[in-house]
Amino acid sequence: MEIRKGIAVSPGIAIARAMVIDSRDYRIPRRSIMPSQRAREVARVEEAFDRAIQQLNALQQAQAGREDQIKDIFAVHARFLNDRSFRKRITDYVESELVTAEYAVSTILREIASHFAGMGDEYISERAADIYDIERRLLTQLLGDVRQEVEHLQEEVVIVAHELTPTQTAGFNKTFVKGFATEAGGRTSHTAIIARSLGLPAVVALEDVTSCVTTESTVIIDGNRGVVIIDPDEQTLEEYRNYAVELTRFEVELSSIRDKPAITRDGVEVQLLGNIEFPNEASMAKEKGAVGIGLYRTEFLYLYSGTEPAEEDHYEAYAEVARHFEGQPVVIRTMDLGADKLPYSVRHPGEANPVLGLRSIRYCLQNLIMFKTQLRAILRASVLGDIRVMFPMISNLQELRQAKMILRDVMEDLDEYAVPYNPDIKVGIMVETPSAALTASLLAPDCDFFSIGTNDLIQYTLAVDRGNEHVATLYSAADPAVFYLLRSVIHDAYKAKIGLSVCGEVASDPEYIMLLLGMGVRTLSLAPPMIPEVKQIIRSVTIKECNHLARKVGTMDSQRQIKNFLRDATTRIIPEAF
């Protein structure tokens, strides 16, 4: 039995067999197999070679007639893949060392590569790069069958990986995936967001967890305490089974408040909206009690198809959500990706600092055709309900005005073709850069609403990469700096009489609900599975006590002090959450 502590990012308990997903971009950890699995792993190596050869033949045919280096590279790869003694060296390693096909491929190829690198002759040591290419080619095949396996699961598993990409999680068979444990990531990593939107327990920042599980391991993921237990003993298993039952009972209790309003004990109503990523989450959001969608992330359109989405793809995705929320707000956020994330973008030169680089609205403003396609679809969908548009990562007024001007251009285009749309569509921005927060009073006159994106706002304000497990603990919404910024944005929104919501992770964190209410927030947008619990908190408090709490937090000077204070206050209201 092995116990690992990480960061809890999505609540719940999962107990199932581990399904490990290695990444070809990270070191493949040594993972042992049972002697009985030997033949299967050897077969996987053979199949990976055969498929890689087929793939290469197809590529070579496509390149036929070209006399250049690319062809040469393919030719080298083909000869390696057809080299029996090379293949045998890998299968022998699997058999003698009893390790996975992935580990054997990675180890043997790295051995060969380091042999070249150490030879001293420049021409030959450059060949090490070819060897790494071959490694990647073979790993792609091997990891491809793992992906296939995850898509066609027949039994319940928990996913253990270094980090999950949107493309990977999109393919999961959600009936059988019961939880996630990853080495990288923080509360706001992709894994965390996906896990919460699916309502599955997840723990991240687990250092080298992929090297301590085997495919035979049973794993417990405790998404409440941030603990992962590998190969638990009988007593631990029993404890966790009971704990899981208890939690389910709590959940059932919560679901009974679904149709009750989110209203405080002293009669102040709070609007609870859902954050969604995929159109099919709209029904779940509704079921959990969302009275609209406060953040509809549209990145999936750009990430999962491999090609740039057509206007119809956008429209269909928006229309589906609009149908579920007739007459209720649906806030569509325009594309919020870095150029480095777009799978089809023409070889984007690597950025030294992508988080501060060409991304989100900045990318859109430089790629107007793509941006206009999305805006046209949003405008066309705007006649289907209370559709609103939101621009992410605005960092100054010029950017906002430019984006709005493009929106007006698109409206004029639609006028020309007499395509109906809502000319009074509400336009808002994500307040998620410190500059936007500090100049909120300048931005407000050009906006119908603000939505505070706390995830990025905290990251930029505290200068902490939330995905970096070494500094992730510095990332906290309880920092006084964050409090001051939020307070001033809320104040500016009130003064300008525009809409205000909070759509970052704090809006779903039980510990921050009272604080946000006390600071004047009346609209929260959060992961749908968290809505019942947050509603329960709202229904248990008075605005008077929230105001008192917020005033008190305003006098505190450290993250730790604020955090402890909020935790104590919440535990008194809703002890079951901890």
């Binding site: 080298v76 000869r79 080299d83 003694s85 090379f86 060969i112 002759d121 021409y123 030959i124 070819d130």
Partner: protein
């Protein structure tokens, strides 16, 4: 890797077992992995050992590739093949 590739391709056309030696390392001439790891850089002396029905033809073809055609590259990339066994 082009020279190693050409060498392996030429060797693979023959049925006989062909081995290449460089000082004390002996490798299979038909394996690209082993050939590239042999580290035959410009000017290295190679010994080619072939055993089998078409061994003489194999040696001739490989000698031709290395000494006459010089891998189709400049004379600077030159090796020497010198011995055969039956």
């Amino acid at each position: 890797m082009r020279p190693a590739m050409q060498f392996v391709d030429t060797a693979s056309r023959f049925e006989c077992d062909i081995q290449v030696a460089n000082d004390d390392t002996l490798v299979d001439a038909k394996s690209i992995m082993q050939m590239t790891m042999l580290a035959a850089i410009c000017g290295t002396r190679l010994r080619i050992i072939a055993r089998g029905r078409d061994a003489a033809a194999a040696i001739a073809a490989l000698r031709d590739l290395v000494e006459v055609k010089m891998f189709g590259e400049t004379p600077a990339t030159q090796g020497n093949a010198d011995r055969s066994e039956r």
